[in-house]
């Protein structure tokens, strides 16, 4: 796979079809892969990498890159392709300046997920036939990739690419029996007290580093309301329970109907807050109340929050459904 991608990238760079290539670059330890812009065949030969550790979603970088002279080649995993499609819909990425190459993906892992298994002091990771061979300061471990997949990959929603110019590998299908809403449903079934306690525990860890927002392909505002002193709600403090609630509710609301559920927010959170649950809650509600809707599925789709029907549910549906009552 990696070799085919390198070949394609070099071919298109050399033919002048594209001016640069967005891909992943090797790091210090095999796992610390960085998104990178490659401008020469040499760089690609030496530094380009693609494997089960290439987690970052590159699509957001196109907001900047697609405004540069010449085309940008981007490699897209299926979920990244949804993000790109949504970005094109919102005119944030200039489609004509993008050469999108869809690549197949069987799920990604990363250092955090591996380390959660108690594997520490990693010095080398190699991958063979879906099994990771991990050398550490304290011994060698073998672990199949599927055992260390991130949640978003375990509950992969689709292996399809809504937008691409070319595919490397097989085009997949949407995953119909995806269980991504199970966790949301589980929380919905709790009592309000339990839900409050659950989210207090999660959100109180927030350090307002803004990584979730800054990595989010739906959060591409030129200036975020929370950074804009003139908005009246700019905030930096992470002192009080309210600030985190406000930030995360409003952020989830702003991306509601636009979030493609790529899961980057939860991946980057240094405090392991399952932020995707908020976005998924909105997606689940939208599906249940307004019909199934997958942001990014088609370019030009109208987000459910900029749409309506006369017979939409009234908000009191919230009072009537879900959750246990106060016992």
């Amino acid at each position: 796979m990696q070799e085919m991608m390198k070949k394609k990238a070099i071919e298109l760079l050399q033919s002048g079809e594209v001016a640069r290539v967005l891909g992943w670059k090797k790091g210090e330890f095999d796992y610390d892969i960085t998104p990178a812009v490659f401008e020469s065949a040499e760089e690609i030969e030496n530094e380009f990498i693609y494997n089960s550790l290439c987690s970052p979603n590159l699509s957001k970088y196109l907001v900047k890159e697609s405004r540069k002279e010449g085309k940008t080649l981007i490699f897209l995993k299926p979920c990244d392709s949804y993000s790109l499609s949504q970005l094109i819909t919102e005119h944030r990425v200039i489609r004509e300046n993008v050469y999108a190459v869809g690549i197949e993906c069987y799920g990604k892992t990363d250092a955090d997920t591996i380390k959660e298994k108690g594997i520490k002091g990693i010095t080398k990771i190699t991958e063979n036939d879906g099994v990771l061979n991990i050398e550490t300061l304290y011994g060698t471990e073998k672990i199949p990739v599927y055992e260390v997949l991130r949640e978003r990959c375990v509950n992969c929603k689709s292996k399809k690419h809504p937008v691409y110019d070319e595919l490397i590998g097989e085009e997949g299908e949407t995953v119909d029996d995806c269980e991504r809403f199970d966790e949301v449903a589980k929380i919905e079934a709790m009592t309000p007290e339990e839900r409050f306690a659950f989210f207090r525990n999660e959100l109180s860890r927030c350090i307002r580093c803004n990584a979730c927002r800054n990595v989010c392909p739906a959060c591409t505002c030129e200036k975020c309301v929370f950074d804009n002193d003139a908005s009246g709600i700019a905030q930096k403090a992470a002192s009080d329970s309210f600030e985190e609630n406000m930030f995360h509710i409003i952020r989830a609301f702003h991306v509601a109907g636009r979030c493609t559920d790529c899961g980057e927010c939860s991946r980057v959170c240094p405090q392991n807050i399952p932020l995707h649950l908020l976005n998924r809650k909105f997606i689940k509600d939208i599906n249940e109340l307004y019909g199934n809707y997958q942001a990014g599925e088609n370019i030009g789709n109208r987000s459910p929050l900029t749409d309506y029907t006369q017979s939409d549910a009234e908000p009191n549906i919230v009072y009537e459904r879900g959750g246990k009552d106060n016992a």
Binding site: E90, H91, C221, E222, V225, S231, S303, T306, D307, Q310
Partner: protein
């Protein structure tokens, strides 16, 4: 920092009886920014207003808060007052301490406390008020009417009558619309052509009216008072200026097998044709789908016979650009297609026809010269069944959920006319309900039943079965007598539901005028603004807004004209300054706001900005203040807060929230 004056009104005892107005004035005097705080018996009185004006001048106030009755009552009054003292009228806020305080609370302490809080909220808001000026835009004194049926004709004539220029765009070769195809009209039974054709001729002869026939609107830009419209003039291959309408070509054309749409395909016409004798304009048109010359380059008969040389096989579509101050939509209706109603055998038997087809069959200019004969064997029908509500009032998804409104009456008319002309013919009408609300309508229906002996059967028809002997068996239930009927008929007439013309939807998109789920245009208010679209400058005439009969259509058409005249009579339009505006430096160009704008007031353009010393091109939204009505839907759709609303800005509303919550 603003210099704010607070003026607390007693409203006689209306407020003062339950609110300690002196305490309110005293408490508000200590709010930051307040430099004067007074109370008075009646602030809205001459003397009260004088007090405000003097205070503004003496204290160099920059903002005013009046604690009084509802702003819906006296906001306009006090805006004028502050304006008279040289303040911008939008530097005023009103705290409603009558309707929201004194009139609903009994406890003086509680009421006074609430009045103070509402006063603080108004002060907090006025701190953030900015002077607003309503923009003005000129009005192009010309109207466009889209659709040349009776609705469009009436509107155009009325507008022209008032002295304004008006253009009619009609997609067909002639104006006149559906009414030209009708035989007689209810409830007076006068002939449609007799009352319509004079109006068509009036249009043609009125020098204020210009008719673009065989034309369509292809692009609409601009906004109320200043629309820029592109009209596509479809090639008719006949020079309009030369053709005299003599009709020689239409007689000589060798292509005779073209279904005649005017008679709904019940007979044929030539490839070059004039739809009917009274067509306006009376100009021939070549049907490119059938013309041998246009298709194969061999023929040219019409060109040879034309004495004025009007035939031009090389004609192309042309585009005309015009500016208009107002646009009237009069796109009308069509009967629905009946291909989903096989139970009535419409597609299987030539003798199952629609009511409109019946109109043609009975019309003197129709295929049978006015004699009612069955289409299949040209025999006189002895028993006719009318089936009502075919596709109307349906909740099965096949038809329309609404009542088509006109069918009950025209069916009574048909039944009556048939019984009068052919007393030996039995007429049955199968109905769900008979709906006859209208002047002389019920009387008309009762005459059909009582004088003309039409058999009305309450019950729906389950099936129409074509029999080998050429008759049609109508299977129906007679609900009132509780029995099943098997009626052998010679002709079955279906009252097909009507729906908006299919050109309406794309037009609505061009006009950014909203539509309901049935593709009828929505009115600005269902009761109080029935002939205006919510989109400023777009008006609705006739059945494009909902099913209507002729009298209703004509009255709406005239009402619509009155609204258009009212607009065109103005030289400039003064906008509402409380409109949305986009902070271009914050705008992402994502189009969310545009999608929720009911008025199409938001547009996008690529603009260059100098950001950190570099020139950057960005797609940004801008709001046309002449079109925006200030609802604020866009402000919430905008994640970056680039969209804000004058007079109700995010920070103003949050300041009110803060003030209310802090006590």
């Amino acid at each position: 920092m603003q210099r704010i004056g607070v003026f607390v009104c007693h409203c006689g005892t209306n407020i003062a009886a339950t609110v300690d107005v002196k305490a309110v004035a005293e408490a508000l005097r200590h709010e930051p920014g307040v430099v004067v705080s007074e109370e008075y018996q009646y602030m809205c009185s001459e003397a009260g207003q004088e007090l405000i004006k003097n205070a503004i001048k003496e204290n160099a106030l920059t903002g005013v808060v009046v604690c009084s009755c509802s702003p819906r009552m006296h906001e306009a009054t006090f805006r004028k007052t502050v304006a008279a003292a040289g303040l911008n009228p939008y530097m005023l806020e009103i705290a409603n301490i009558r309707e929201q305080v004194s009139w609903i609370h009994k406890n003086i302490e509680e009421a006074t406390e609430k009045a103070i809080i509402l006063g603080r909220a108004a002060i907090a808001k006025v701190h953030l008020n900015a002077p607003l000026t309503a923009g003005e835009s000129p009005v192009v004194k010309r109207a466009l009417v889209i659709g040349g049926g009776i609705a469009g004709i009436q509107t155009a004539l009325d507008i022209a009558e008032a002295g304004f220029e008006v253009d009619i765009v009609e997609k067909n070769p002639t104006i006149g619309g559906k009414m030209t195809q009708l035989d007689k009209t209810f409830p007076t039974l006068d002939c449609a052509a007799c009352i319509l054709t004079p109006k068509m001729v009036d249009c043609a002869q009125n020098d204020k009216i210009k008719i673009y026939s065989y034309s369509e609107v292809s692009e609409v830009k601009g906004f109320v008072g200043n629309f820029d419209v592109t009209i596509k003039r479809k090639a008719r291959y006949v020079d309009e200026n030369k053709c005299t309408g003599c009709g020689l070509c239409t007689e000589k054309c060798p292509q005779k097998k073209v279904p005649n749409e005017f008679n709904l395909g019940l007979d044929n016409r030539r490839a070059i044709y004039i739809p009917f004798a009274q067509a306006v304009p009376k100009i021939a048109t070549i049907d490119a789908d059938y013309c041998t010359m246009l298709k194969s380059g061999k023929c040219g008969v019409c060109s040879k016979v034309c004495t004025v040389g009007a035939i031009d096989y090389k004609q192309q579509d042309t585009y005309v650009n015009e500016k208009y101050g107002a646009i009237v939509v009069a796109t009308g209706f069509n009967p629905i297609k009946l291909d989903k109603y096989d139970e009535f055998a419409y597609s299987q038997s030539a003798d199952v026809i629609t009511s409109l087809e019946l109109e043609r069959l009975m019309n003197a200019a129709g295929p049978n010269g006015g004699t009612l004969l069955r289409p299949s064997d040209k025999k006189h029908p002895h028993r006719i069944a009318f089936i009502q509500c075919v596709g109307s009032r349906c909740d099965d998804g096949k038809g329309k959920s609404y009542c088509s409104k006109i069918c009950c009456m025209y069916t009574a008319k048909h039944a009556m006319l048939i019984r009068e002309k052919y007393p030996d013919t039995e007429v049955y009408v199968f109905y769900i309900d008979v709906r006859t609300p209208g002047k002389n309508f019920d009387e008309f229906y009762r005459r059909a039943v009582e004088e003309y002996g039409v058999n009305y059967v309450k019950g729906m028809v389950g099936k129409v079965l074509p029999e080998p002997d050429g008759t049609l068996t109508v299977r129906a239930s007679d609900l009132l007598n509780g029995q099943q009927l098997n009626l052998s008929c010679d002709l079955v007439v279906l009252a097909a539901a009507i729906e908006p013309d299919n050109s309406a939807r794309p037009l609505a998109t061009m006009l950014t005028a909203s539509m309901d789920t049935n593709d009828f245009f929505t009115e600005a208010h269902p009761k109080l603004r029935p002939v205006e679209s919510p989109t400023a400058g777009i008006f609705l005439s006739g059945a494009c807004q909902g099913p209507k009969d002729i009298p209703e259509t004509v009255s709406q058409a005239s009402a619509c004209a009155a609204k258009v005249i009212g607009l065109l009579a103005k030289n400039t339009l003064k906008g509402n300054p409380c409109v949305a505006h986009s902070n271009e430096l914050l705008c992402n160009g994502c189009s969310s706001c545009e999608k929720v704008c009911p008025y199409g007031a938001i547009s996008y353009s690529d603009k260059e900005f100098r950001i950190n010393g570099k020139m950057v091109t960005r797609r940004v939204a801008s709001v046309n203040p002449a079109v925006c009505q200030g609802c604020g839907a866009c402000t919430v759709a905008c994640p970056s807060g680039a969209m804000d609303l004058n007079g109700f800005s995010n920070s103003q509303i949050m300041a009110e929230v803060d003030a209310i919550c802090k006590w």
